[in-house]
Subunit: 384 residues, 3 copies
Amino acid sequence: MRFSFSIVALVLEVITIVLFGIFVEYDNSDDSRILYPFFQDVHVMIFVGFGFLMTFLKKYGFSSVGINMLIAAFGLQWGTLMQGFWHSKGGKIHVDVKSIINADFSTATALISFGAVLGKTSPAQMLIMTILEVTIFACNEHLVTEILQATDVGASMTIHAFGAYFGLAVTLVLYRPGLKNKHENEESTYDSDMFAMIGTLFLWLFWPSFNSAIASESRYQIKAIVNTYYSLAACTVVTFALSSLVDQRGKFSMVLIQNATLAGGVAVGTCADLLIHPFGAMCIGGIAGIISVLGFHFLTPFLASKLNIQDTCGVHNLHGLPGILGGIAGIVVTAIKEEDRQGVLFTPGMQAAALGSTIGIALVGGALTGQYEVYPWRTSKNNA
Amino acid sequence: MRFSFSIVALVLEVITIVLFGIFVEYDNSDDSRILYPFFQDVHVMIFVGFGFLMTFLKKYGFSSVGINMLIAAFGLQWGTLMQGFWHSKGGKIHVDVKSIINADFSTATALISFGAVLGKTSPAQMLIMTILEVTIFACNEHLVTEILQATDVGASMTIHAFGAYFGLAVTLVLYRPGLKNKHENEESTYDSDMFAMIGTLFLWLFWPSFNSAIASESRYQIKAIVNTYYSLAACTVVTFALSSLVDQRGKFSMVLIQNATLAGGVAVGTCADLLIHPFGAMCIGGIAGIISVLGFHFLTPFLASKLNIQDTCGVHNLHGLPGILGGIAGIVVTAIKEEDRQGVLFTPGMQAAALGSTIGIALVGGALTGQYEVYPWRTSKNNA
Amino acid sequence: MRFSFSIVALVLEVITIVLFGIFVEYDNSDDSRILYPFFQDVHVMIFVGFGFLMTFLKKYGFSSVGINMLIAAFGLQWGTLMQGFWHSKGGKIHVDVKSIINADFSTATALISFGAVLGKTSPAQMLIMTILEVTIFACNEHLVTEILQATDVGASMTIHAFGAYFGLAVTLVLYRPGLKNKHENEESTYDSDMFAMIGTLFLWLFWPSFNSAIASESRYQIKAIVNTYYSLAACTVVTFALSSLVDQRGKFSMVLIQNATLAGGVAVGTCADLLIHPFGAMCIGGIAGIISVLGFHFLTPFLASKLNIQDTCGVHNLHGLPGILGGIAGIVVTAIKEEDRQGVLFTPGMQAAALGSTIGIALVGGALTGQYEVYPWRTSKNNA
């Protein structure tokens, strides 16, 4: 058993390298140098942002930032292959700066799910989950953007809601009563909270790049940047206000500052590059802050005690609910005002179909993955 | 009283969103994608740089990085409106990447002042101070750049000196004898000093972007980058040398390394895009290091004990004195060599007027703001 | 003795400023604004990456990040002059964004060597070592790229192997038996390991910029980005697998995660912009991970106990061995497939000559430098 992780990781890496040798070629796009700063911002979000955000639990600091790095490093390779298969030309996958942005994106789903199951799975299980989740993500993304032709430039639905509900389904299946007593592991300290703020801030700061990186044209990219910037700012002020409001002594809660301030970036994602105006973006951001704070304060304790869903890092409140809000905002915006991108007209019906299919596929995919994960876990438990 | 912060924050945010709905429109500038990496660097400075720089006080770690985030998130919205009113076209404020850089800049003044009053004000008071300071800053900036037509590309005067003297005036008015005994709160620990170095380094590294972001042409932007790069390097070596020199055992002082190394970025700001040559930039940087170290070592203790000015983070030595040095350097450089930008000829007289008016407006504005702030503070004290 | 550092630093800084006044001019290149984001990434690697990577030793946290800043700030000025002399036109050194990237690069050699001697030298000695090493580096780089006309775009040989073997030669000469007992200083804590991960991640994330920043054309730059991205990803998965494999309880070792995950960036440097395909890059990265883990696990203890080479931060395993691997990869790739850049054809013979001369010059230069450094050290020891 001691070598199981090493064997799984080495076998998967060798298979991946061989597949790269067969399928992957360079591509040359004119945009690559202009897009490169966007890529670097997203790259920092994936490794520093997600990694450090989860360090708030003293007990899991190393796991968070270390396993986050492992999942992301493997996931971006697997994501290159899975997304590439849907866009291959002549049997070859062509990679440039835009495709490594997308590869980073695909790992984000697995990292979000990791936040829900942190402390309950082994590194080997995480690698298996990453493979399954990235594969299912690539299929769902193809469904949403190519078949349904819905818009989701900042991936509120296809990454954030998908990753959250996939992870929640996994953690529900993994539930065992014994885990309930592990509350002492779920505590933060002064320094672990400071490390988590590093994660929060780098996510917060670079979110405009996340939401605009793959916009189809320069002018839409600028709109996505501006909208995300103001959505996050409004969300942050609202989060501070509500954090003080729901606290008995009027104090700020670190976990809310670390997480709910980011909900505005998630929620504005779907319609970030549409003409919603900074005003519209700020409304979305403010509502996202309200939903996220209420989720952390009321819903998470309820889910844990009544439904046995233990969401370690509260990803439901940061990615799940704001992701759904983003999907709904997309429906509303396309209903109010017709917009098209490169000849494709977005309709509220297709946006709703995209939201529904994403959540359905995430829940089913997560439940099946959790079923698969739970097997070795119980075995090792029985042996102990 | 418990809900006062939440009410103030929510009311201000709602007003701001409404004003955005009425006045703010998208703009499309060709430069936006090229400027975006500059924006991101400035963005990191504002939230990570300023936020973590103030974490060196163990007791105020959360306050520093948290309230810094709150002030900046609100200030950038308010700054968009205040700066926008001076540049509005047809009653509308147009936002693009250049204007969100300027919005970030405007919050820097409030964050610098925050460094002077850290530990003495409540979050609600900070929001009020942010509104007043950003408003007065936008007026003074209009005076300096449009009416006096002075140059201040890196904002040595309009941001750094302004923010420092505004904050010092506030802290002087807020002074109460009882605060003197709070020295145990003003201590650093090993880890808090390491967190502060994160702030220092991200400020130091991205300062070339701060000083060059709004330069009028590409070639002047490159000069501002190069000048700031070498000014900071010279300042850093001088700071290490003097830090060891003024210490009784020849050791380096963390507070000097964290702060005085940055004075070169402040001081070279006003004339960063002028033809001062790297040699001139290094002279300015070296002098800035000397002034800043001497300020921390001799002036701050004097101000605190004799004049009752308690400058929590030493912003006078990092932003105040080097900001004045930058203003003086601007006078000297424009006196030696005529330079113009886009048809405007810079003169030493106008540079001196800009420096004088900036400090005067900052001191008066800060004193009035402090007077306003002190009222609820004393009330709550009397109640206790 | 107490003022020796201050005097050395001030004298060196004054000399440097005077030399800048005589020799350094602005340059205007069209590429500067496009290259600026690459510069900023490299800049973060030098100051945050190298600085925090070495903070894993609790005892040396301040020294690491502080002296790192001092060395880099001085080294980049000296490097500008030394590299500039080889490329001067009309007796003048012209600086733009590309030359400040190169100035940052030249300091990297001294920072790598610093990792080998950390805890054994004084700040004044480090400044002297920086002057000598940067000077010798600039000569060797001229030899490799201009005279031998070898390729080394990511500087596997000229920076990484050079810096490592230079530092190892210094530490061998500095060896004294008493240092062996200082093992209690070479320990990490939870928080110091977390700070080190900040260094690791910013190096890891921005390594594609390091390897591509000075590529001759845009299309080669994109290839260097993509190759480095996949090399690091493969290296990381292999490192995690082997880290668990060599540990008796199958746990991950923080020191391996912090260091060996970066070996893929070092090793792919020499041929990063050649047509090695992502497949080739991943093979190089995987092998680099294997070599680096084995180096940390078996070679470092052997070198320390048998050869009296105490490599404080293990730079031999992160920069030395992977740097040689990079040099060998360059020989193999140019032997398999002819490639040229701007009319220069690369040959395996010249690549081998470049690797050999680099290591030879580094060892001799480091030994002479160490001899020079050891003198004041022993004196002060005898006095004590």
